[in-house]
């Protein structure tokens, strides 16, 4: 059966502006959402060949000092003998940032990417990478 199937898009909600002082630590959490009926591998998939959820901070005044991924759900799908470690629906990812003492004061942005690979119960879609941007205001 041929059916039109479009790849699901993971939407990322921009977190509020991070206001922090130099030399301190801030934890930033953003929300991401997958459409109903789809799942993405967690950051710790059950098999090596699966593509994990992966957040990378690529540029900005902050120093990432640890990422907390959403708690994975172990879900069973018709195509797999064993439950898979996945995320579904709405989930959050937090990052602990250090604000360097020499960070430039004022408004700027911290940029990153979130890579995911989604499937439904019959097919999988190509890995995708979506941009993640945090507005920063360093005092």
């Amino acid at each position: 059966m041929l059916v039109a199937q479009m790849a699901p898009t993971l939407t990322v909600a921009a977190p509020p502006t991070v206001k922090a002082k130099k030399g301190t630590v801030a934890t930033v959490t953003f929300k991401a959402t997958l459409p109903p009926g789809f799942h993405a591998n967690s950051n710790t998939p059950t098999d090596d060949y699966l593509i994990p959820l992966m957040l990378k901070w690529t540029g900005g005044p902050l120093q990432a000092d640890g990422i907390t991924y959403p708690k994975a759900a172990m879900e069973k799908y018709s195509f797999s003998d064993k439950p898979l470690s996945v995320v579904t629906g709405e989930f959050t990812i937090s990052t602990k940032f250090r604000i360097p003492a020499n960070a430039p004061a004022g408004p700027s942005a911290e940029n990153g990417t979130l890579r995911y690979q989604a499937c439904n119960d019959r097919m999988c879609f190509a890995p995708k990478t979506v941009p993640v941007t945090i507005a920063v205001n360093i005092e």
Partner: protein
């Protein structure tokens, strides 16, 4: 995977010129399209693990399952054992499976997988061009059953509704069909079935 980001599965339907839909109120759909409605499978030249170029035309005269898959695609793993079984069961009757891996990491990802799964059919590494030729491959697995004349007889995006039977019914029907005359398709039919040409086998009138 680069190509999967491109055109949608809708374009696969366009390539094939139809969308098959089956509901409980409809009669069972045939395993394959009528010969007159089949379109030629685009030819390609892709490398296997040894670097040897493999063309779709290498499979001339055979019924072929052309399976676009990737190592990261769990539903693809369901189909692979089916294809291994088909390769064993029907190879001597003029059937072959050709797997086209769409892994961005190439043979580094494919080789360990092929070894672990002991794949008994040929695998080549796909590219953007081939993906585009086959409608963009929005999702995997995307699988085409190709007749002896190189034409697409059926296609599935994702796991087929009836599972393995969908493929096996198509393979059997195509293997038992009269050998069509060579019409210049990607997979030529000048090679006869292993059991030799049968003069009673005629091309379908609507072809």
């Amino acid at each position: 995977m680069r190509l999967l980001r491109r055109a949608g599965i809708v374009s696969v339907s366009v390539l094939l010129g139809f969308v098959v839909c089956c509901t409980p109120t409809q009669p069972p759909k045939p395993a394959v399209r009528a010969e007159s409605q089949r379109k030629h499978a685009p030819d390609f030249a892709l490398k296997d693990a040894t670097g040897k170029l493999v063309h779709l035309t290498d499979f001339k005269g055979k019924v072929v399952i052309l399976d676009f898959w990737a190592t990261w695609c769990n539903p693809c793993m369901v189909e692979i054992p089916w294809f291994q079984e088909f390769e064993r069961k029907y190879k001597d009757r003029g059937f072959e499976v050709l797997g086209v891996s769409m892994d961005d990491d190439g043979w580094k990802a494919i080789n360990p997988f092929v070894a672990k799964r002991k794949l008994n059919y040929r695998v080549v590494l796909g590219d953007d061009k081939t993906g585009d030729q086959y409608g963009g491959l929005e999702a995997l697995p995307t699988t085409f059953v190709i007749d002896r004349n190189g034409r697409i007889a059926s296609a599935h995006v994702g796991l087929p509704v009836a599972g393995k039977k969908d493929f096996e019914d198509a393979i059997k029907e195509l293997l038992e069909a009269p050998v069509p005359a060579d019409d210049g398709g990607a997979v030529r039919s000048d090679a006869r079935r292993p059991d030799g040409p049968n003069p009673d086998r005629r091309r379908a009138p609507n072809s």
